[in-house]
């Protein structure tokens, strides 16, 4: 593995640079440390960071953009008007080149494509070495510069601290970069999808069957990408989940904050936290193998026909998963209500439950609404429970006893297994992801807004 080898080499080089910088600083003052502006190790840090930063930067740039540049070059290397590329879109040609790079001439027979693949392979091999050499050279240049700069007057500590500050800022922009990455990748792929399928059909179409043809001339090749059944299914399951988690979570929070003794609280709160810490795949397994058959048998005994992958089972189990989420957030909102309010109410002769319903809950309402909204956004984005317990059939129904499918289930179904990047089928998953991202973001923003805007400021 050449890339791990180069990482190790750079790491070793930076260690050597640390030692060299340190030695050098001591040598310039003949071992009298007090003559130096900074501690010897600061000179070491300075040298090491001048080695590691530029070379890492080059490697990261190569990793991020290298392939893109190489692919452009490969495309340009294909002669204009070659038979294989006549009237075919660029990315389809690129796909064939990529397959040819991986598998040689086993599948690909066209000489133009094979030549392009050969060009790519050679260019890739050269580019790897060029990048590694450049990284190494940048590191060595940094080291040389650091050693040259080292002198008793050189303010190494201040320089190191400046570098450190830049590193801190760089780290905090990674969070922004993640968001940008999410938005960019979702948008980019979605736009490609909407070139093939009109956005109105996607958002308002009633039929979802994402089969696309293997060959262009196949009969019945056009799949249907109307996502309304998926939205409806997601909504149904989320509503079922909230119907379970909302009342139970809120009542549990009320009981634990207002009535429970310290002992009960000390046991019940961690129990709820355990419920929150159980991985969702475990809930999915529980829903599929225990709850769903249970509901089906119960339905049979009263003459109801409940599908074995009913929305009900998935919704109820998802509700169980969300209970701790609702209860802990409501708990915070209720505890934030000042004691003087409830004391006043109790002093006027209201019973505790009247105090809770008429004084505490209205005061805590923004927080509780926020908690519910966050819980809904959690339910909408939840994947494993529905993948394992809800069905695959895109049913447009409000009947919880039937099987429905959700946005997340379809994303998983579309993207697991072998896939190519350019079919409408694969791209539709990114469009669904975009919808999911926007909806959950919307719920979160509203939740935060509600809490901020309507929070009563006491004291």
């Amino acid at each position: 593995m050449t890339s791990s080898a180069i990482s190790v080499i750079i790491l070793l080089l930076s260690l050597a640079a640390f030692a060299a910088g340190r030695q050098r600083s001591l040598a310039t003052v003949g071992g009298r440390r007090s003559d130096l502006h900074s501690l010897p190790r600061h000179y070491g840090y300075f040298a090491a960071s001048l080695v590691i930063l530029p070379s890492t930067l080059i490697l990261v740039l190569w990793l991020t953009f290298g392939d893109f540049v190489l692919e452009r070059m490969t495309m340009n290397s294909i002669p204009e008007g070659a038979v294989a590329t006549e009237g075919v879109e660029d990315h389809l040609v690129l796909n064939r080149v990529r397959i040819a790079v991986d598998q040689g001439d086993r599948v690909e027979k066209d000489p133009t494509i094979l030549a392009a693949a050969k060009f790519y392979r050679e260019a890739h091999g050269e580019a790897v070495w060029v990048t590694f050499a450049a990284a190494l050279l940048a590191g060595l240049a940094g080291l040389a510069f650091a050693l040259k700069a080292t002198s008793p007057e050189f303010r190494a500590r201040n320089k190191v601290e400046t570098i450190m500050r830049v590193v801190l800022i760089a780290c905090s922009t990674l969070a922004v970069l993640t968001t940008v990455g999410i938005v960019a990748s979702l948008l980019f792929e979605s736009l490609r999808f909407f070139q093939q399928v009109p956005i109105s059909e996607f958002l308002f179409g009633l039929k979802w069957s994402p089969q696309t043809a293997l060959r262009a001339d196949q009969v019945g090749s056009s799949g249907a990408f109307g996502a309304v059944p998926l939205f409806a299914g997601t909504l149904l399951i989320s509503l079922l989940a909230m119907a379970v988690a909302g009342p139970i979570g809120l009542l549990a929070a009320i009981y634990l904050t207002q009535y429970a003794s310290g002992r009960v609280r000390a046991v019940a709160k961690p129990a709820l936290e355990i419920l929150a810490g159980v991985p969702t795949v475990v809930y999915g397994f529980f829903a599929a193998l225990t709850i769903a058959p249970l509901f089906r048998d119960m339905g049979l005994s009263v003459g109801l026909d409940i599908a074995s992958e009913s929305a009900l089972a998935a919704g109820v189990v998802m509700g169980i998963m969300i209970i701790p989420f609702v209860s802990s957030l409501s708990d915070d909102a209720i505890t934030a209500v000042p004691r003087s309010l409830s004391d006043g109410s109790l002093a006027l002769g209201a019973t505790p439950s009247e105090t809770i319903r008429k004084v505490i809950l209205p005061a805590a309402l923004p927080g509780i609404v926020g908690a519910f909204l966050l819980a809904v956004s959690r339910a909408v984005g939840e994947t494993m429970i529905v993948v394992m317990a809800a069905g695959m059939q895109p049913n447009l129904t409000a009947n919880p006893f039937e099987a429905v499918t959700t946005v997340t289930v379809q994303i998983v179904a579309l993207l697991t297994g072998d896939q190519e990047f350019d079919s409408a089928k694969t791209l539709s998953a990114f469009a669904l992801g975009l919808v999911l991202f926007v909806v959950t973001l919307f719920f979160n923003m509203i939740a935060i807004r509600v809490v901020r805007k309507y929070r009563e400021i006491y004291d």
């Binding site: 905090s172 969070a175 429970a260 795949v281 701790p324 973001l441």
Partner: protein, 439 residues
């Protein structure tokens, strides 16, 4: 406030109406309180049912049925260990027809089975893993060649499920996977005391398999460990440095506000969206290897980053300003204040938050499905760029398998997963208790 018109003022507290009203209000109070208690009780019940269900199903997954057989181990079939080098002997053992030896020993036990098809059915009460089991036994003990040995050999998954009582033998023969004929054979073996359910170390030491009786979680555990290692390497330094910047250096401006909102929003983005990001960026753009812990670790790192940042900020904020003032007063630079004083004091809180973030990452499945860590992989993964699977994904894969025996393997794998989660959380709690300081 409107006064109820029925009651004349001054209020007659001992009037019938008032007493009825009071009684009603107290009844409402009791109902409300009972509802609250009920909600807590239901949540607790869910927890007990969930865990009880997993444990009662999963315990069986750690055990497997073995059948005792007396196997002849002839030199003719296995090769002579005295005239061969160990490698040659191992090779010749690997090539030997082990199932034939087992079939021969079964012939002695069941002389009534004569037809070819019945014999073929008879050998099916053993797992195909018997081949490897016998080969290993013979390679490790070369001196058994030429003797007869009483051995406990692995039964097939269907027989195992019958012995454990998971297959209802009362139902119609066509409805179950085990025929009446096989049940009769099993009964004969059981009567002879030659069937036993034993602890099955293979489950904890081997990789995945198509046969439930030979499948193990070790491959998935190693895959999870490699993935979490990558996650930790990336998310911990970046998260802590971000928290330091935001808490200690960031000026109060629009960019900082934007950063904070951004981090809070990232914490609430569904995990599957991170999977899509990983697929599009790490695999689609950077062409990193699919199904590899490297990509899984990157994806999970981006997902756990907000958790670590938020926890680290809280921990840094909890260090009192007097510490910073004292250090500044003694001439430390801002960086020295942070790295020599604030950070060490905040470290327990930061580590607690990191462990909790790691525990979340360990339980996460959906993003790993997106980046293809969902393949069937038999080998134990050896590096971060090879194909691997993770523990929760293994649970997902087994839960999807049709074999009845995989249900208990799934529960057992969940028990392993929960064990690691509990350990991580216990460490986090201990850390918090041990180093928590009140200033």
């Amino acid at each position: 406030m409107t006064t109820p018109s029925k009651i004349d003022s001054p209020t007659l507290w001992d009037s019938k109406e008032m007493q009825r009203r009071t009684a009603r209000r107290y009844r409402q109070e009791r109902i409300f309180r009972a509802a609250g208690l009920g909600a807590v009780a239901i949540s607790a019940l869910f927890l007990v049912v969930l865990l009880g269900n997993i444990i009662s199903q999963g315990t069986g997954g750690f055990f497997q049925t073995y059948i005792e057989t007396e196997v002849e181990l002839p030199v003719k079939v296995l090769g002579d260990p005295r005239t061969m080098t160990p490698e040659e002997f191992a090779n010749s053992v690997r090539r030997a027809n082990m199932l034939g030896l087992v079939a021969k020993s079964l012939e002695e036990t069941f002389p009534e089975v004569t037809s070819r098809s019945e014999k073929r059915a008879l050998i099916k009460i053993f797992s195909t893993g018997v081949r490897g089991q016998l080969a290993q036994f013979v390679t490790e003990n070369p001196n058994v060649v030429g003797t007869r040995q009483k051995l406990w050999l692995l039964a097939s998954d269907d027989i195992d499920q019958v012995v454990k009582g998971n297959i209802d033998t009362e139902t119609d023969e066509g409805d179950r996977r085990v025929s009446d004929r096989e049940l009769a054979w099993l009964q004969k073996l059981e009567d002879a005391g030659r069937v036993d359910v034993k602890f099955h170390t293979t489950f904890l030491t081997s990789g995945d398999s198509r046969n439930p009786e030979m499948a193990g979680v070790w491959g998935a555990v190693v895959g999870s460990a490699l993935t979490l290692f990558v996650t930790l390497i990336l998310a911990f330094p970046v998260g802590v440095l971000t928290a330091i910047y935001l808490e200690e250096f960031a000026p109060q401006n629009r960019f900082t506000d934007f950063l904070e909102i951004n981090i809070n929003n990232l914490a609430a983005v569904p995990s599957i969206v991170f999977g899509l990001l990983g697929l599009a960026v790490f695999i689609g753009t950077m062409h990193l290897p699919r199904s590899a812990p490297l990509v899984g670790g990157f994806t999970l790192a981006l997902m756990t980053l907000p958790t670590i940042i938020i926890a680290s900020r809280a921990a840094i904020k909890a260090v009192p300003p007097s510490i910073r003032d004292a250090a500044r007063g003694l001439g430390a630079s801002p960086m020295q204040v942070i790295f020599h004083h604030v950070l060490p004091l905040a470290m327990p809180g930061i580590l607690t938050g990191t462990i909790i973030g790691m525990a979340q990452a360990l339980g996460e499945t959906a993003p790993l499905l997106m980046i293809g860590m969902v393949a069937f992989i038999v080998d134990i993964p050896s590096g971060i760029t090879g194909a691997a699977t993770a523990l929760p994904v293994q649970v997902y894969l087994w839960a999807d398998s049709p074999e009845r025996a995989f249900a208990e393997k799934t529960s057992a794998a969940i028990m392993v997963l929960l064990f690691f989660l509990i350990m991580m959380n216990a460490v986090a709690i201990k850390l918090r208790q041990k180093f928590e300081r009140k200033w």
